[in-house]
Structure formats: structure tokens, C-alpha cells
């Protein structure tokens, strides 16, 4: 025998190692091809559109494309505290004239008006002058435009135009946090009485947190009961958890609207036991109370199911052992049982929290003005104000929050441990 190790060959005469690698590669491709249709479908219809949302949220090319000559000329505008040179006026005039011919000037006026109040008036004034051909293109445009309105002589308006030059902007994100770019480019806070978004973010977090807390305190005992009762009873009680789980969200919200209305059963009950006077029935819907109650009931199954599946695996003999070693039932529970259920608690709480933070339907129906959440604001901008870029920006801010929570969830529990029913 030679000292070299002899290569093992397959029947075809190919070395076994090569043949195995080939087979494994084939298997890899086969597995990937099975996943490919869904992956491709999701990437095209779902992942890319989320990227598209990001592009829309930072896109500010409208003005950039509308005023190309202006921005070209502005490169020569050196002292920003003084009015720009003649070239900038000429560039702006030429750009604006072109827009006016294409009926696009109104859009520009509105966009600039958002940047600085009062732009709409002075651009319309310029438009009328152009239409009446009152502007002499051979003379100094700077003088003629400045004469139209005193705002054209105000350098702040020209600075505002310059601020719209970059094709991308983070201003929508700042707006979502009640901040904006001030005239000098620094970040400033909105006036105190107009800070609506920060209130909404805080309220969303607050409601998600408390709903999670309520679900935990209500879900833990019944999950424990379901896991410890004999099968024939627990199966029956499980229906109480699973039937709401499978029932339409709108049906459950409708039933809460009936229960919580002023002449509703809950109020009837309070009057009956003498808690409130008949003519002084409390408003329980269209405020935070309604949102809390309905959301807790709707999300409770998502807390109970993961807790139950963890508790089911805990052997009852552990508690007995704890007690036999001298622990009181409380000590045995706290030192033995509770630590074992922590994976279930983590899964349940994060699941409920993630669902609650993005809730839309129930708050919109029973929340009223003080119970609405950030999702309602996103829907409002998508449908009513049609400010899609702002809706996208807020959506992505929310998504970032959810992904951070999901990442923590993955570290603590692992995504593979998600169980359904």
C-alpha cells in the first residue's frame, strides 16, 4: 500500500467528495427554488413598496425639478443675509414663466407656502404680471420683482426658496416629532399649543403599555387555570379564549359599542347596584376608557395562548416538591413556578404590545378624540389630507419602533417559538 490516502471513488469514477458537494448544492438549489416564488412575490409586492414609502417620505424633488435655473444661479449667491443677485431673479423668473405656461405654478406656490407663510400671495401676484406681459425682460428683473410686493424684498423668502433646493429632506420626520427646520437651518420646536404628534406618540405608548399590563394580569391567572385543570374541563374553558380569537374584530368592537353606550348594559348594571345615579350615567365610550376596555378584551387571547403553551410544559410535581421542601404555596409559586413561565410572559407581552402599538380599527370606533392613536393619524393623512409623504414618514417611524421591539423579542424568546393555537 502506498503512503498516500487513496481517494474514494463513486461507481462513476468521480471522487466521493466532489459528488457529495454536487449533491448538496443541488439540494440547496432545490430548497431555495421552493421558497423562491413566495420570496419573490413578497419582495415585489411588499418589501419594495416599504422601501418606496421611505423614498416618498424623504423625497423633495418637486421644487428641485421646478426651479432648475434658480438653483443653478443660487450657487453664485454668496452673502445669504442680503438679497440674491440679479441672476437668481432672472433664473426664478424664467423657471416661473415656464411653470405658468404649463399650469404648474399653483403647485409651486402651495409648496413654497408650506416652507414660509405668505408665498402663495406673492407668487400669484407675479403670475398676474407675467400674464399681462407687464414685465420687461430686457430690464433688471430684480428691480421689477422687488417692486411687486414688499415680501419679495424680504431676504427670508429667498432663503426659504434656497432651503427647498436639496432633493431629499428629513423635514417630514421632524414634523412627526413636532419639530421643523428654522430659517437658519437649525432644528426648532413647534409652539407648545401645536404639538399634537408628540401627544399622540406618548398616548400610543401609554395605551399599548397599559393594555399589555391589563392583559398580563388578566391572562396569567386564566392561563394557569387552563394549564392545571383536567383536560375535559380545560377544553371547554379554552373555547372562551378561542371563540373571541376567531371572531371578527369588528363584531367584537360592535359588541363593546353596545355594552358601553350611555343606555348600555354596563351602565344599567352600575345604576342597578347604585354606583351611579340614573340621570348621571358616565360616558364610557368615545374616550380612553372605551379604548382600554375593548382593546384589552380583543388582545387578551394573544396573551393567554403563549402563556398557556409554556405553562402546559411545567410539571405539577415541581410545585409539590417546592411545598414539600417547606415553602408556603406563595414561596413555591414565586420561586419555582413563576421563573419557569418567564418565556411565556415575554412572548405574550411583546406580542400584545406590538399589536397594540399599531392598532387602528378599535380606537377609531370607540376611542373618540382622546382615544385615537398614531395609526389613526397615519390613516387620516393617507385619506383626508392626502399628505402621503408625511403618512409614510410616520409609518416608518412606527415601523422602526416595532422592529426594535421585535428584535428584542427575537433575542429573548426567538421567532421560531411563535405558536398559533
Amino acid at each position: 500500500m502506498s503512503s498516500e490516502t487513496k481517494q474514494i471513488l463513486t461507481t462513476d469514477g468521480i471522487p466521493l467528495e466532489v459528488s457529495l458537494k454536487k449533491a448538496e448544492k443541488k439540494n440547496k438549489i432545490k430548497a431555495f427554488l421552493l421558497v423562491a416564488p413566495l420570496l419573490l412575490f413578497l419582495v415585489i409586492t411588499y418589501i419594495f413598496p416599504i422601501g418606496d414609502m421611505f423614498m416618498r417620505s424623504v423625497d423633495d424633488r418637486m421644487v428641485t425639478n421646478m426651479l432648475p435655473k434658480t438653483f443653478k444661479a443660487m450657487e453664485k449667491w454668496e452673502n445669504l443675509d442680503e438679497l440674491p443677485p440679479e441672476e437668481v431673479y432672472r433664473g426664478f423668473y424664467e423657471d416661473y414663466k415656464l411653470l405658468a405656461e404649463n399650469q404648474q405654478h399653483g403647485k409651486l406656490g402651495q409648496r413654497l407656502n408650506k416652507e414660509k407663510n405668505g408665498f402663495n400671495t406673492i407668487t400669484k401676484k407675479l403670475f398676474r404680471q407675467i400674464k399681462r406681459k407687464k414685465i420687461d425682460e430686457s430690464a433688471s428683473l430684480k428691480e421689477q420683482i422687488n417692486k411687486l410686493h414688499k415680501r419679495w424684498r424680504d431676504v427670508e423668502y429667498w432663503q426659504a426658496i434656497k432651503r427647498t433646493a436639496p432633493p431629499y429632506t428629513a423635514s417630514k420626520y421632524l414634523k412627526g416629532m413636532d419639530m421643523y427646520f428654522a430659517a437658519d437651518g437649525s432644528i426648532a420646536q413647534v409652539d407648545e399649543d401645536r404639538r399634537i404628534h408628540r401627544i399622540l406618540w406618548l398616548r400610543t405608548l401609554e395605551i399599548a403599555f397599559f393594555v399589555t399590563l391589563f392583559c398580563f394580569f388578566m391572562g396569567y391567572p386564566i392561563a394557569h387555570l387552563l394549564a392545571t385543570l383536567p383536560m375535559k374541563y380545560s377544553n371547554l374553558l379554552m373555547i372562551c379564549v378561542l371563540l373571541p380569537f376567531w371572531t371578527s374584530l369588528l363584531v367584537r368592537t360592535a359588541s363593546w359599542m353596545i355594552l358601553l353606550q350611555q343606555q348600555g348594559i354596563v351602565n344599567d348594571f352600575f345604576v342597578m347596584i347604585g354606583l351611579v345615579a340614573d340621570d348621571n350615567r358616565p360616558e364610557m365610550m368615545y374616550n380612553k376608557v372605551g379604548t382600554y376596555v375593548a382593546m384589552t378584551q380583543i388582545l387578551l387571547p394573544f396573551m393567554v395562548l403563549p402563556l398557556y403553551s409554556v405553562m402546559k410544559t411545567i410539571s405539577p410535581s415541581l410545585m409539590r416538591a417546592g411545598k414539600s421542601l417547606g415553602g408556603t404555596p406563595f414561596v413555591a409559586f414565586w420561586k419555582v413556578y413563576f421563573p419557569l413561565t418567564i418565556p411565556g410572559i415575554g412572548a405574550g407581552c411583546l406580542l400584545v404590545f406590538i399589536l397594540a402599538i399599531g392598532y387602528y380599527i378599535t380606537p377609531a370606533l370607540v376611542g373618540g378624540a382622546s382615544g385615537t392613536l398614531i395609526s389613526n393619524q397615519i390613516a387620516f393623512h393617507m385619506k383626508t389630507t392626502l399628505d402621503w409623504s408625511f403618512a409614510s414618514a410616520m409609518g416608518l417611524m412606527l415601523l422602526t419602533g416595532v422592529l426594535v421591539i421585535y428584535w428584542i423579542y427575537n433575542k429573548l424568546v426567538g421567532v421560531d417559538n411563535i405558536k398559533l393555537g
Binding site: L243, P244, T247
Partner: protein, 284 residues
């Protein structure tokens, strides 16, 4: 859960408090669903129990709102129900096909980048619906599929596949791969092996995933609100509109029908779960 006879009084009290809390929570979970049922038979137009109903007077009950649901001229429930079923059925079929294939690939030990791909595939379940709605709307608008059945079906496939992927992957985790190898060694081709061996074994998982996908599509309102036009109205959209404008008893009649449907689905899902556990040899 009888207590042992030697239990001290204070633990006995705690035990009864615990049972009382549990009773309250179960009541809290299930009772709201049962309010709808009697009120949908109300003869009057108000959404409160009338004096007649409290006295169980037969004249206070009627099928008026059910008739209104079916025959009411102004009611779009017929069209909505038809649309809902068509959309849900096609979305379920699409989700099952794409989801099962993907789950088969993901369960192979040769699958590269398993974690990343799994995270991508189930992301529609994690991302808040409102964001999915906005993103899908942008896509459908660009693709010219907004306000079409096709667009809504595709959107619901996106939302439904994660459930199929999860349930089928779970079923496949207990799957004995030697049976497919045995079939292959006996001369069966892969398609035949899948149809005759693998599919019957993973069928409970596939169907329960399909049920999730069906319910997701049938109940879905957030994404559909962005996508649907007047022609594509669904039951959830009609309910949403009805609940926003004015709570009419007809909605309660519809809600009762939906509760019956969900009961049916629950029973099916439970039977399947037990069968799949039996097949996987999980005895409890």
C-alpha cells in the same frame, strides 16, 4: 381543582379569590359576544333591551333585521358577502400554495440563510397593519390594481401566507423524512411522492394554516379600506361604515351570522389540531 383537606384557611380564601378572578376574566372574554345575539332579534330599532324583551314577550322579538339583511333594497350586504367569499377563497388558495411550497423549502436542512428568509416571510404578520396597508396601496396604485378584486386578493395573500408558513413548518418539524426516501427508493418521482406521501401527512397543518389565511382575509379591514372601490366592498368594510355612521340592528344580524361562522371555523380548527397532535404522537 379540589383543595387538599389540610389546606389552611388563608390559602383556602386565596384559592377562592383566584377562582373568582378567573371566572370574571372568562366572563369578560366571552360575554360581549352573547350580547349581540338577543339584540339582533329585537323588534324595535333601538340597540337596548326593550321592556318587552326583558319580560320575554314573544312580540318583542322578530326576524325583521335578518329580513332587512337579506332583502333590504338599500343594503349592500349581498354584494359584500359575495365579494368577501370570493376574495377570501382565492386569497386562501394562493396563500396555501405559496406558503406550503415555502415551508417545504424552509424545512429542508440544506436551506441557506434560513433565519433571514423566515424573518422576511413572516414580516407581514409583525409589521402593523396600517403600515402594510400604506405600502401595499402604493404598490397596487402603481401596478394599476387598486380598486380591483385581483389587487385585494394579492394583498390578502401577502397577509395570509405567514400563517400557512408557520403552521406547515410546525407540522413538518415532526415529519419523518425517511418515508419520502422510502418512496423514492421504491421508484416514485418527487411530485408523486409529495402528492401521495407528504401532503396527506402534513394536510392538518396545511388546512389549519389555510383557515388562518381565510379568517385573516375575511376579517381584514385596514388594507381593504385603502384598496377597495365601491364595487369591491366587503363585509368588514360595510360593518366599518355602518359602525361609524350609525349602529343599526341589521349590523347585529350580520354580526350574529359572523359569530356562527367563527364558531364553525373554531370547531374545525380544534378537530384538526387534535388530529395533527395524534399524528405527531404528542399525547397529553
Amino acid at each position: 381543582m379540589a383543595l387538599p383537606s389540610y389546606t389552611e384557611t388563608r390559602y383556602r380564601i386565596w384559592h377562592y379569590i383566584y377562582l373568582a378572578i378567573c371566572t370574571f376574566v372568562f366572563f369578560f372574554l366571552i360575554a360581549p359576544l352573547f350580547v349581540i345575539f338577543p339584540l339582533s332579534f329585537n323588534a324595535e330599532e333601538f340597540l337596548v333591551f326593550s321592556e318587552g324583551m326583558k319580560n320575554l314577550d314573544p312580540d318583542a322579538f322578530s326576524l325583521r333585521w335578518y329580513k332587512d339583511m337579506v332583502y333590504g333594497t338599500k343594503n349592500p350586504w349581498g354584494l359584500a358577502a359575495k365579494n368577501s367569499f370570493i376574495i377570501a377563497i382565492f386569497a386562501t388558495i394562493g396563500s396555501i400554495i405559496l406558503g406550503t411550497l415555502a415551508a417545504l423549502g424552509l424545512s429542508s436542512r440544506h436551506m441557506p440563510y434560513k433565519g433571514l428568509i423566515m424573518a422576511t416571510l413572516i414580516s407581514p404578520m409583525i409589521v402593523p397593519l396600517i403600515i402594510s396597508g400604506v405600502a401595499i396601496f402604493f404598490f397596487m396604485a402603481k401596478a394599476g390594481l387598486a380598486a380591483t378584486h385581483t389587487g385585494i386578493v394579492l394583498a390578502h395573500i401577502i397577509l395570509g401566507t405567514p400563517f400557512v408558513v408557520i403552521t406547515v413548518t410546525a407540522t413538518l418539524s415532526g415529519f419523518d423524512h425517511s418515508v419520502t426516501r422510502a418512496a423514492a427508493s421504491l421508484g416514485s418521482n418527487p411530485v408523486n411522492t409529495f402528492m401521495k406521501i407528504t401532503l396527506p401527512l402534513i394536510l392538518p397543518g396545511v388546512i389549519s394554516g389555510g383557515l388562518f389565511a381565510f379568517v385573516t382575509s375575511f376579517d381584514e379591514v385596514v388594507v381593504v379600506l385603502f384598496l377597495a372601490g365601491l364595487e369591491n366592498t366587503t363585509i368588514p368594510i360595510q360593518m366599518w361604515t355602518g359602525l361609524r355612521e350609525q349602529l343599526s340592528p341589521t349590523i347585529l344580524a350580520v354580526a350574529t351570522c359572523l359569530i356562527l361562522l367563527s364558531t364553525l371555523i373554531l370547531v374545525t380548527a380544534e378537530l384538526l389540531r387534535r388530529r395533527s397532535e395524534r399524528l405527531r404522537g404528542i399525547n397529553r
